[in-house]
Each structure stands twice: as C-alpha cells, then as structure tokens.
C-alpha cells in the first residue's frame, strides 16, 4: 500500500512534468504506464483497509474495547454467512456491470474535440503515411 502510494506520487510527478513541458500526450511510454497503473489504486485501497482492520486485532477500538466484547451476540453465524454471501453476490453482479460499462466507455472514446497539439500530430502522422 505504502509502496504503491509512493509509485502513484512518482507517476504523477513525472506526468505533471511532462504535461508542463507539453510532451505528455506524445510520450507513449508514459501513457502506457498510466494505463497499466489503473488496477493499482484498487489494490492499494483494499490493502490499506485490510491492514487497518487486521492490524487492529484483537482490538475493536484500540486499547479500549476488544473485538470479543463488541460483536453482536444476537446475530448467529448462519445469519452472518447469509448476509456475507448476499453482499458478495451483489458486488459480483455490480462488478460485471462496472466492467461492461467501462468497456463501453473506452470503446466509445473521449467526447469533445481533440486537443490542438494532438490534432497537429494526427495530421503529421497522416501526411507521413500518405508520403
């Protein structure tokens, strides 16, 4: 999580630098890095959450209340499993919808006009191809 966080900062610093120099949209290597970095925030988020929850054990409120004193005695393990499965099912369906919609968005491409420098580059590459 911390390692990934450092990588994010590094990636953003390099991207900001490139953007400032006006080279970000023509640096294919950097664009690739940005695309490939997509799953990392999810991993970092989850890892951070797990660290906070597991690292705190056996405390529920650190130093004040133990997990053993905090759980609901009125809720049976079966109920817990039932709702856990319910949430897993719902999140699985949501994940499928998410991937489907994201794929559609990517295929659709960005809306609006292309940036001027990119247009210029497109023209150059096209004229290059014609030649």
């Amino acid at each position: 999580m911390v390692g990934l966080g450092t990588i994010f900062i590094a990636v953003m610093v390099v991207s900001a630098l490139l953007l400032w120099r006006g080279k970000l949209f023509s640096s294919r290597w950097m664009l690739w890095i940005l695309v490939l970095a997509l799953p990392f925030p999810y991993i970092a988020n989850t890892a951070g959450w797990i660290t906070a929850e597991i690292g705190r054990q056996p405390w529920l409120v650190y130093g004040l209340m133990r997990t053993a004193d905090g759980y609901s005695k009125g809720v049976s393990a079966g109920n817990g499993i039932f709702t856990l499965l319910g949430f897993m099912g719902m999140y699985t369906v949501l994940a499928i919808f998410f991937l489907f919609l994201i794929r559609r968005e990517i295929e659709h491409g960005p809306e609006g006009e292309l940036l001027p420098e990119l247009l210029l580059e497109n023209e150059q590459s096209q004229t290059g191809a014609e030649r």
Binding site: S72, F82, T83, F97
Partner: protein, 350 residues
C-alpha cells in the same frame, strides 16, 4: 437532556420519512404513471438531484440514535439484523436502478433497471412501515436487553413475535399507501401535462384507502397496545396530533380535487408531509419514554433512561448537532431552491 435527544431522534426520523418518502413514492408510481421514455426521464430528473441527499437523513437519524441511545442501537440493530440487511440491499438496488439505467440506450436494459428501481422502492416503503410497526408493537426483549425475532411466526401479536405479523403487515401497507400518495403529490408538483394528471389521479385514488387505513391503524394500535393512550390521557395537548393528521388528510383531498394548479399541488404535498409528521409524532408521543417496548414483560422495556449515553457526551453532542443541522438545513434550502419549479426535459440538466 435525554428527552431532548428523544425529540431530536424523532425529528430526524420524521425528516427522513418526509424527504425520502416522496422519492420512494415516486418510485412506487414510476412504472404505472410514467409510460413513455420521456415521462420516466422526467420523474428521474424530478428526484435526481435530491434522492441521495434525502437518504442521508436515514444515516443521520441512525447516527444520532447510536450517539444518544447506544444500548437501543445495539439491541435493535442486532435483533433486526436480517431485515436491516435486506433494507440495505434494497437501498443498494434502488440506487443501482437510478444510476445505471441511463448508461445504455437500450429498451431491455432500461426496462430492467426501471423495474428494479420501482420494486425496491415499493418494498422499502413496506419494510419501513413494518419496522415502525415492530417498534410500536414491541419485541421479545430478554433480561439481557437483547432479542431475536424470526421473520415471521404465526402472524399473531403475542410474546412469540415475528418481524411480520398482522399488525406489522398492516403498518407496512399503511406506509406503502401513504408514501405512494406522498410521492404522487411530489411528482404532480414537479411535472406537467399527462404525467401530472396521472400523478394527481393516483393520489386521488389512494386517498380513501389512506383514510380507511389510518382509522384501522389507529384502532389496531390501541387494541394491541392499550398503554399508547396513557400519555394522551396525561397530556391533553397530545390530542392535537390526531387533529393534525385528519386535518391534513382533509386539506389533501381538497387540494387534489381543485385540479391542475401549482399552488394547490404544493398545498396537497405539504399537507401530505404534515400527515406523515403527525403520524410519526403521534407514535413517538405515545411511546415516550419507552423507545423499544418488550412484548414479553413491560419491566424489560428499553426506555430513554436505561439506554442513554453519558450525560457529558449528550451535552457536548448537542453543540455539534446544532452546528451540523444548521449546515444540513442550509444545504437543503439551497438545493431545493436551485431545483425549484417544474421539470422540463428540453431545458437539459441533471
């Protein structure tokens, strides 16, 4: 101090029901009243900017309950574990229905999420009504201040309760009818033409049902829990509450029948809000100082005295609650002002 917090929690719950009530109700009539794509989109735009803000009042009410009466929160959230999880799932499904439907312009996709949105809205109305029914009827509290209720037992009101019995099913139906009318009146305020007419017709048709169910609900509540009258007998001012309830019903039908005119539509909606507040305040007034009655033995009742948090905490919390509520009210004033008036699709927007 605990009485003040009891009132605060009651006000927050009432605010939630009035606010989220209208977008839940709009969801209930959604499939029937809005038939064309444009009409459905109009309803979505009418509730679009406000529905999620309205739902935050549920969180706020739950948070206030947790803060002021922690034992009540612990006991009821454990005891109502399964139904509360189902409410959570329904709230999720409803949000998914609203958010995903417009992403793909395909009738099957849209229709699918429209049905999810409408059905989960209707079920939520019933669940919330049944929840209130459970709180009024009482739950089988043990000496350890905890309880467990199966989803249903024999549908009788007794010591062996289920979440659902004839009384809580009745309160569920009352909530469904009330919020359907409430949502229809909101849709009427926000729309024009055919949709406006259908929404008003729905409110007109549910009105007699609402009146009859209110009377049946009142009789049933007194029948299963005669002690609800104690507070009214001691403080005659309580009798104003049923006057407000039936008065609002009368104003509602008068304003709906006046026909298509924004001022009467608004009056009808405000009357419906007052009706809801009256019903909830009436229940809170009858229960006070009990917050969760025990169906097993009245000595085991959870009251504001045996569930409240520490005195110092309640005093400090009051300061923060006042600051928070000023922010929330400011935001809601701004929000509803910004999106005031009828929704017109050609104007674009949300």
């Amino acid at each position: 101090m605990e009485t003040l917090w009891f009132m605060i929690v009651a006000v927050m719950v009432a605010a939630y029901v009035v606010l989220d009530g209208f977008d839940l109700g709009a969801g209930v009539i959604y499939l029937g009243a809005a038939r064309t794509t444009a009409e459905r989109q109009t309803i979505m735009r009418a509730i679009g900017p406000v529905w999620d803000g309205n739902e935050v009042w549920l969180l706020a009410a739950g948070g206030t309950l947790y803060f002021a009466f922690p034992l009540l929160y612990a006991s009821s959230f454990s005891g109502f574990y399964l139904p509360l999880m189902m409410v959570l799932w329904l709230l999720m499904l409803r949000g998914i229905g609203i958010e995903l439907r417009h992403h793909v312009h395909n009738p099957v996709w849209r229709g699918f999420f429209d049905v999810i949105f409408s059905v989960s809205s209707a079920l939520l109305c019933i669940f919330f009504g049944a929840a209130l029914g459970n709180v009024v009827r009482g739950v089988p509290l043990g000496a350890d201040e905890y309880f467990f209720e199966p989803l249903w037992t024999n549908f009788r009101v007794g010591t062996n309760n289920g979440i659902l019995d004839w009384y809580t099913v009745l309160t569920g139906v009352i909530a469904l009818v009330t919020l359907t009318a409430h949502g229809s009146l909101y849709v009427a305020v926000k729309t024009e033409d055919e949709l406006n007419r259908r929404a008003r017709m729905t409110a007109l048709r549910t009105w007699p049902l609402q009146l009859i169910l209110t009377i049946i609900g009142l009789i049933a509540t007194i029948y299963i829990r005669p002690t609800v009258l104690d507070n009214y007998k001691q403080h005659a001012v309580g009798y104003l509450i049923p006057v407000v309830v039936f008065g609002s019903l009368a104003v509602m039908i008068y304003a709906i029948r006046k026909g298509q005119d924004l001022a009467s539509e608004k009056i009808a909606f405000v009357a419906s809000s007052l009706y809801i507040v009256g019903m909830l305040v009436g229940a809170a007034f009858a229960l006070y100082p009990v917050v969760l009655p025990a169906s097993t033995d009245p000595a085991l009742n959870l009251t504001i005295y045996n569930t409240k948090a520490g005195e110092h905490g309640l005093a400090v919390g009051l300061t923060w609650w006042i600051l928070g509520i000023i922010l929330a009210l400011g935001y809601f004033f701004f929000l509803f002002r910004m999106f005031r008036g009828k929704v017109r699709l050609e104007d674009g927007g949300y």
